[in-house]
Symmetry: C2
Subunit: 343 residues, 2 copies
């Protein structure tokens, strides 16, 4: 039996260090007072760090890990010493049933490799996919997957991602039949690669699934709020996600420059500060932090390497919600239905 009241946190991963991880956990605890934490990492350092968070001490246990995965360490190298690292041990807590989810801000490739090897795939899934929620102009965020776990994907992978992404959207956004689209370079049927066209053909047929397949979507419509799930291979997804992040920052930088261009603009900026703060809030990646590896026997959440205290808390909150919603079981059920119908 999994103890779903615990979340295992890789306390050592991430660019900002232990102090930010612990501050993020403490912040998450305020939102989920019943949630308890397994803090995985160097015992002495964590014990020392906890002195700044007396409230956290009662709600957490320390699990010692002597080693840390490097931020640019190759996945294969990290994998060989998984059992000694804070990342590997955090995942192992999920495998052992001591935690409902693991959260790490460390190296994505290593996290994926360790999670896959330790937790294994759900029946019917060939590969896990990294999924995240992105902001839109609509009422809901949009689930995008895969964001980089799989550089190349065949039609079967894409179809599985569609089913998993839809299950995630149903669970996370309470949608009965999420609108699912495939990312492509045009909206016409003949556009794109064979893999994408084959996946589209299969999804068009799969009317028994709890999702509404809407066809192809292009990169310029990702944030329009027209669909709930966008499916792509990990290469395109990573390019799209990072281009969106970079462009948002680019526009914000241009805006800053423009506001500094004259005294008049500076005054206008000061007066409209609440408006630009609203924008900043909406675009803050820390408010949308927490990508999840879908398709595994357990929940593993990837927090951004540069996540702040708020970002870490958001990722933990996302993990807590997935545990509470029993996401893994929901995905399994949808997959079972899909396999049963196509078999």
């Amino acid at each position: 039996m999994t103890d779903s009241s615990f979340i295992a946190v890789d306390a050592m991963g991430g660019d900002k260090g232990l102090a930010v991880m612990l501050a993020g956990v403490a912040r998450a605890r305020h939102r989920f007072p019943d949630m308890r934490f397994l803090l995985v990492g160097d015992e002495t350092a964590i014990r020392e760090g906890l002195q700044s968070h007396p409230n956290l001490t009662a709600n957490s246990e320390i699990v010692h890990a002597p080693e840390v995965v490097g931020s640019s360490e190759k996945a294969g190298v990290a994998l060989r010493r998984a059992k000694k690292t804070s990342m590997g041990i955090a995942i192992d807590m999920v495998k052992q049933g001591r935690a409902g989810a693991a959260v790490s801000s460390g190296n994505t490739g290593a996290l994926m490799a360790m999670a896959k090897l330790s937790l294994r795939m759900l029946p019917g899934i060939d590969r896990p996919a990294l999924a995240a929620m992105l902001p839109t102009l609509g009422d809901n965020d949009v689930v995008v997957l895969d964001l980089g776990a799989n550089t190349e994907c065949d039609a079967r992978n894409l179809i599985q991602f569609a089913v998993m992404g839809a299950a995630y959207a149903r669970t996370n956004m309470d949608l009965a039949s999420p609108r699912v689209a495939l990312l492509n370079i045009g909206s016409e049927d003949q556009k794109g690669t064979d893999e994408i066209r084959d996946a589209a053909a299969a999804l068009r047929e799969a009317t028994h699934l709890p999702l509404t397949f809407t066809g192809f979507i292009e990169g310029d419509r990702l944030s329009r709020g027209e669909v709930d799930v966008i499916v792509c291979d990990g290469f395109s997804g990573n390019i799209a996600l990072k281009t969106a992040e970079g462009t948002a920052r680019f526009v914000a930088d241009l805006l800053k420059r423009a506001f500094r261009s004259s005294i008049r603009s500076k005054i206008g900026f000061l007066i409209s500060k609440p408006a630009t703060e609203l924008l900043r809030h909406h675009l803050d990646p820390n408010i949308h932090n927490g990508a999840v590896f879908l398709g595994l026997n357990g929940i593993v959440v990837k927090s951004h390497g540069g996540a702040t205290e708020l970002g870490v808390a958001t990722a933990i909150a996302a993990a807590a919600k997935m545990v509470r919603d029993d996401l893994t079981r929901r995905i399994s059920e949808d997959l079972g239905n899909f396999e049963a119908k196509v078999a």
Copy 2:
């Protein structure tokens, strides 16, 4: 001998119709008073349209074309009636040497297919690539290619794109040795597909080329102004370009919303209007309009389907500059040097 004082314009292509195309040509003529135009399309309609542009009449000739390529027509279908369409005849003007370049706002796939079949590839080039200049935070724009002409590319294609993109950057931005990067999902050597890693290995060796290969670049750094040329397959390039466009619009829409959120914000907006206008100007796609198919025996410029009068003028100005700079010859020379050294 090519008459490089003429530009052939597909007067019928584009979502906004003949009137906008002609207004764009007239606007371009103001910038290049020596430039003359072959206006290709329905003779009666063009003659009628020219009544609004008396100054243009003296600088242009009408070339009648009875048919128009549809905006969602399949390339194969359009190709069969190329010789009757305004797009096909505009390209044929370049082939016949009656114009130095062709410009069309029509269907990209058809334009690419017709240009390739009619003009043929430069020696040493397997496939053309669609290249455009994107705005950055740096002093220069950045050349990005391929933007959608080739859904899948091997290492050899990517290397050729790098050489062609660098020649374009040298010509267009007067750079001696443009900084060239490959778009990838990480900056470490082992990241990405085999094609990208193989292309990187070859470009690292190619120190005799007039370019500086800087390695991999991720989607979040496209607009930072750190490189002059970004090379990718047409699928990723299209996703990146459109995601950047969509995100810029998304942020602008959020900003508009934010400014409308209170009286105070509205006042701030009015005061800082010069600043936001500056931003709008910088992001206006019509100011960056005009993608070019590199690798052909001749210059073919693709103007955005929704280009305004300003956009059309920008695309024509870009074509005029390429003709003046003798871009095709410059690319041929660089390719010759590259082939000579690797052979």
